[in-house]
């Protein structure tokens, strides 16, 4: 089977597992909604402050939800030594990485159509269809930027003690450029872009996505080869 065929099979397998055991999806969605609620509690009932911070709260909800999804995605592979089985199948390590990263990205993208309307209602943001779909598109780019390094680090941390602490410690500082660019781009999409800055922030986001997807894809082989 070609590498592309392997990636497609792995993505299908992961999505099928998600579909059959919907408890994880539900818990991650609920966690995202709770996070959005908590931000509004922390800011207080100041509608203007909530509206101004809406983009940041949305992206932080994505980030916090992603750690749950990413660590769980690799934990299931270690049960019954499934990862060794996949590598012996044989699946190319690069295909394994891209399969996992794509399914993680798709999973995080699925949160957008649920969390964005919640944020719109909770933070009193006025959005038209263009801004709504623009936000979803930027969310997808942010999800891709989180998923690539997140998948690589989850492959490491799922095999050590205190994995729940280690994954955010490694991932959060690394993805700050992605968070920064996505918050700025989503804020400009939601509140208007009079200075024409949206394109440059989106380019920065795409740039980091490309760097992480290429670099993590190359390095994943060393992570799984070193004592699966």
């Amino acid at each position: 089977m070609s590498a592309f065929g392997q990636i497609a099979t792995l993505v299908r397998k992961d999505l099928l597992l998600e579909w059959r055991g919907r408890a994880r999806t539900l818990s991650v969605v609920l966690f995202g909604i709770i996070t959005l609620l908590l931000f509004s509690f922390a800011t207080g009932p100041d509608t203007l402050a909530l509206r101004q911070g809406a983009a940041g709260f949305l992206v932080l909800a994505l980030l916090l939800s992603s750690t749950l999804a990413l660590s769980e995605g690799f934990r299931v592979e270690h049960e019954n030594h499934a990862l060794e089985g996949l590598l012996l199948a044989p699946v190319v390590p690069g295909a394994l990485f891209y399969g996992k990263a794509i399914s993680n990205t798709l999973f995080l993208i699925l949160l957008a159509p649920i969390l964005t309307p919640v944020a719109v209602v909770l933070y009193a943001v006025e959005v038209g269809p263009g801004a709504f779909f623009g936000t979803i598109g930027l969310w997808a780019l942010a999800a891709a930027g989180l998923s690539a390094p997140g998948t690589l680090f989850a492959a490491m941390t799922s095999r050590v003690r205190s994995q729940d602490v280690l994954l955010p410690v490694l991932l959060f500082p690394l993805v700050v450029p992605v968070l920064f660019a996505s918050v700025k781009a989503i804020a400009l999409t939601l509140s208007g872009d009079p200075m024409g800055q949206l394109a440059s922030w989106t380019q920065l986001l795409v740039g980091f996505d490309v760097i992480y997807w290429v670099l993590c894809g190359v390095l994943f082989r060393f992570v799984v080869e070193e004592g699966v």
Partner: protein, 233 residues
């Protein structure tokens, strides 16, 4: 009789140069026109910044060598360089805060240079934390090298951010924009801190290799997930 170590000589030379450079910076160089004596912290702040970038770049190169060859010596020097980078990054932030308080009127500002530097320090400190959690020495070497390679993506961002975005922090100076009386202590301290960093990295690398040898003789009990599952299925 104790064996002479080249790195100790380099470290002592660095300390001597630091004394000379600091004396020149504190007592011989002219006070800056607007900031006065507060500016003299530049004689350690700028060399610390340059060398922090340098040792983290070295850590990146050592990490590639470690992943490529799998030799313990590259992992050892990479660990030393990463630790030196974290220490120097923390010192850099502390020096910047001491300078910012009388100059900007605040200890901290969410300026792009300050923020990216803080994130860089936290990122590399996280990699050191990862090392402490992985008990298998080969796995620890590979994983931390992979993390150092990816983490290096943020280092050019720290250097170039003041040019790419509007920043409260000034952009890089050149010898043409600085008085020659200021350049001499700045250069002396740059080499001084570089030599001290080399000493630190060499010492730390030696310790890391000794630790690895000790682990091979008496491996620590493995407490990772796999073993826990195998012990308690």
């Amino acid at each position: 009789m104790k064996r002479f170590r080249w790195d100790a000589a380099v470290g002592l030379l660095g300390l001597a140069l630091l004394l000379v450079g600091s004396y020149l910076g504190l007592f011989e160089a002219p006070a800056e026109r607007h900031m006065g004596d507060v500016q003299r912290i530049m004689y350690v702040h700028v060399p610390t910044a340059w060398n922090a970038m340098l040792v983290l770049t070295a850590a990146f190169i050592f990490a590639i060598a470690s992943v490529w060859t799998g030799k313990p010596k590259w992992d050892a020097v990479m660990t030393g360089a990463t630790e030196a980078g974290v220490v120097m990054g923390a010192l850099l932030i502390a020096q910047g805060m001491i300078w910012a308080r009388p100059t900007w009127g605040i200890w901290w500002d969410w300026d792009v240079r300050l923020t990216t530097t803080l994130i860089m320090v936290i990122l590399y400190a996280g990699i050191l934390v990862l090392r402490s959690f992985v008990e298998d020495s080969d796995r620890r070497a590979t994983w931390s090298a992979v993390a150092v390679i990816i983490g290096y993506v943020d280092v050019p961002l720290v250097y170039f951010c003041v040019r790419w975005w509007r920043s409260l922090h000034q952009i890089q100076s050149t010898p043409e924009t600085v008085s020659s009386a200021m350049i001499v202590p700045l250069r002396i301290n740059s080499f001084a801190i570089l030599f001290i960093a080399i000493w630190f990295v060499a010492q730390r690398a030696r310790l890391e290799l000794a630790r690895r040898r000790a682990e091979e003789v008496a491996p620590p009990p493995r407490r990772d997930r796999r073993q826990a599952e195998e012990t308690n299925p």
